[in-house]
């Protein structure tokens, strides 16, 4: 569903992506680990068509992102590290707006509230202006938008950063449910525990290259930590 073939991206002197080849199948959660600046966000931006690659290709559902940027975006949902919303609008209004743009039909206010509470937002908060939300609350609206879109692939850039442990656990639950419905999920994270808990496969990036790919079931949390630190040396 999500695939890269020898993907390269260069910013001046820095090689942000160096011949990255990976593949995420439907029903799979792929967790991407790596130190700050190792190219994880860059990879996601290429998938979204915000950056054009300098070699290789990125495919969504077999479609080349560079040439089908609208068609590929239609199959994706994206949750960034910091979900940005319109502060003057309430949570429900934001959700209805983004969902309408994503799907072409606007969910009713009750559906919107249901989606938001399903994403873990307090029912009372859904009617407040988003300007008053904490970072985690915004994140939950972003999750609800992604769920409302019903996309076949999810791109998550450190989605749980800022979520409290309970919300993070609920989010992992949501991800697993999506996975079971056949959604392909690519998530970057710094949270080894989270990666081990939710991931089906785990990739480690180092200075733009994908240096390791393991199956989450194959190793313990301690093994993963040792492996990670090994690569980061």
């Amino acid at each position: 569903m999500l695939e890269t073939r020898s993907l390269c991206k260069r910013f001046g002197e820095t090689l942000a992506l160096d011949r990255v080849s990976l593949s995420v199948k439907p029903g799979e959660i792929y967790c991407l680990l790596g130190a700050n600046g190792d190219g994880k966000t860059t990879l996601i931006n290429v998938f979204l068509g915000f950056l054009t690659s300098d070699g290789g290709e990125a495919l969504v559902d077999g479609l080349d992102v560079a040439r089908n940027s609208l068609a590929t975006k239609a199959r994706l949902a994206y949750i960034p590290e910091q979900v940005m919303l319109y502060g003057a609008l309430t949570g429900i209004e934001n959700l209805r707006y983004f969902a309408a743009l994503a799907t072409g039909t606007e969910p009713s206010a009750t559906d919107a509230e249901r989606l938001l509470t399903a994403a873990g937002l307090d029912a009372a908060a859904t009617r407040r202006r988003v300007a008053t939300y904490s970072k985690g609350m915004r994140q939950k609206v972003g999750i609800a938008v992604a769920m409302a879109k019903g996309a076949r692939a999810l791109l998550l850039d450190e989605p749980t950063s800022g979520l409290d442990p309970k919300a993070a656990a609920e989010f992992s639950q949501l991800l697993r449910r999506s996975r079971d419905e056949g959604v392909a999920i690519l998530a970057t994270t710094h949270d080894l525990f989270h990666a081990k808990q939710t991931g089906s496969r785990i990739g480690i990036m180092r200075q733009g290259s994908l240096v390791e790919e393991v199956s989450a079931a194959d190793l313990s949390h301690a093994d993963l930590e040792a492996l990670y630190l090994e690569h980061m040396r």
Partner: protein
């Protein structure tokens, strides 16, 4: 509902909630209502007074007692320039030009005309008018409402989020354009109401309705230019701060500095004589022409002296006038041409800054431009000559045959009646459109430029989203 409409709706809701729309609407309403109330009141009162004065003046002429016709000609008549209904929207050069002309013997009245180009944007603040608010302040409102429409979303990250949903950048920009256009339509609707009131209360049967439509269309084009430029800069700018800085700089240059420079340049290129220079040149050539004519016909260079037999006094008056007509035509034509050339140069400069194009087009369509003023002055002068010619003819036929008793002749009501009342028809819509031709083309050109600029900005931004 298309994404464009959804985006526009959200944008409008935000503008409404954060109070920008209300604040801008109140300011616009206050300025437009004040400007229109004053100018409309002025126009209505002026027209009532003018009609009364014009009728009274002719009545006085008809009722004057029996006397020598030349005495009557010296006292003369007055003509009053009508103020078109749309002057309450755009007074144009009205505050700078005279409105009354005294038609009297011998000499064409100098047309008072302080060039309007002396007064640029802010200086015209003294003459608050609907047109001024729309030309100078409305672009500022567009800037305030739109400077961060794209730069702000890029900074916040909402742009990236919206695009990730599969929305086209073009649709986002069109949505914002739609929101901006709706907002300013709402904000400036008092001006539209003013326009309708001005036409509805127009007393003259004229093409004011058509003029109003053309006027509204010109202003719409101007605002479309402002919207396109504001969105283009907001798309290109690195940040909202950069965007507002660029836009304010553009406003200062385009709305205040360039018009000023264009006016100065136009005056340099097509210099018009000062009042003193003009009078001196005219007087010089007039007396030369008169001397030559008198020498030829009456063998003397001294006009109206004892050498002139009284039996030829009326004939002399007729000759004196006719010689004068040609010289005055030449000098006034040159003077007017210099003003007209200045106006056209400024209209051409309208290709560089749309406010110049709009200002000229607006005045022409409102019937308050220089060409309308000149049309009136020329009609007044034709009327003066009709009066002079009828009087000279009368003297030749009735006073000159009396020989030495020339000045015993007294004309009566029968002669006064031969001079028609001054019935003036201002230039029609077709003339106004023709006069506004260059400026309307310049405006259209600016509109095309602005759209190309926006298209370019979009293509640039689409490739550099991060």
């Amino acid at each position: 509902m298309s994404p464009v409409v959804r985006i526009a709706r959200r944008e409008a809701l935000e503008m409404w909630r954060d109070g920008r729309l209300v604040a801008a609407a109140l300011i616009a309403l206050a300025l437009l209502a004040t400007a229109f109330a004053i100018d409309w009141q002025r126009q209505q009162t002026y027209e009532i007074e003018r009609r009364a004065a014009q009728a009274l003046d002719y009545d006085t002429w008809l009722k004057q007692s029996d006397r020598h016709p030349h005495d009557a000609a010296h006292q003369g008549m007055h003509v009053f320039k009508p103020l078109p209904a749309l002057a309450s929207i755009d007074p144009g050069i009205t505050p700078y030009a005279g409105s009354t002309i005294w038609l009297q013997a011998h000499r064409q009245s100098e047309m008072r005309f302080r060039a309007v180009q002396d007064a640029t944007g802010l200086q015209r603040f003294g003459n608050l008018s609907v047109a001024w608010v729309l030309q100078v302040l409305a672009p500022l409102i567009v800037i305030v409402l739109g400077f961060n429409m794209l730069s702000g979303e890029r900074e916040q990250g909402t742009l990236k989020q919206t695009l990730s949903l599969g929305v086209r950048l073009r649709d986002i920009v069109f949505g914002k354009a739609l929101a901006l256009v709706s907002a300013i339509t709402l904000l400036l609707s008092p001006a539209l109401i003013a326009l309708i009131v001005a036409v509805a209360t127009s007393e003259r049967a004229s093409d004011d309705g058509l003029r109003a439509v053309a006027l509204a269309a010109s202003y719409a084009a101007y605002f479309a230019i402002a919207v396109a430029v504001v969105l283009a800069i907001s798309a290109l700018a690195r940040s909202s701060r950069a965007s507002i800085a660029w836009l304010l700089a553009l406003w200062i240059v385009g709305v205040t500095l360039l018009p000023r420079a264009a006016a100065d340049l136009a005056r340099e290129l097509y210099r018009s004589p000062s009042r003193a220079e003009f009078s001196k040149a005219l007087d010089g050539e007039l007396s030369a022409a008169h001397e030559a004519a008198w020498k030829r016909e009456f063998s003397t260079t001294k006009r109206w002296g004892t050498e002139l037999p009284l039996a030829r006094w009326g004939e002399a008056l007729r000759l004196d006038d006719r010689v004068g007509y040609e010289v005055m035509d030449k000098h006034f034509a040159a003077l007017w041409q210099s003003f007209a050339d200045q106006q056209h140069a400024q209209a051409l400069a309208g290709t560089a800054t749309p406010i110049l194009a709009l200002r000229k087009a607006s005045m022409s369509l409102a019937g308050t431009d220089f060409a309308s003023h000149r049309h009136f002055a020329q009609a007044a002068e034709r009327h003066r000559r009709t009066m002079q010619d009828i009087i000279s003819e009368d003297l030749v036929h009735h006073a000159d045959p009396r020989g030495a008793g020339h000045f015993d002749y007294q004309a009566n009501h029968d002669l006064w009646e031969k001079i028609p009342p001054f019935n003036y028809a201002p230039p029609n819509m077709a003339t106004a459109i023709k006069e506004a031709g260059i400026s309307l083309s310049a405006l259209a050109l600016n509109l095309a430029f602005a759209f190309c600029f926006l298209a370019f900005a979009l293509r640039y931004r689409a490739r550099r989203l991060l």
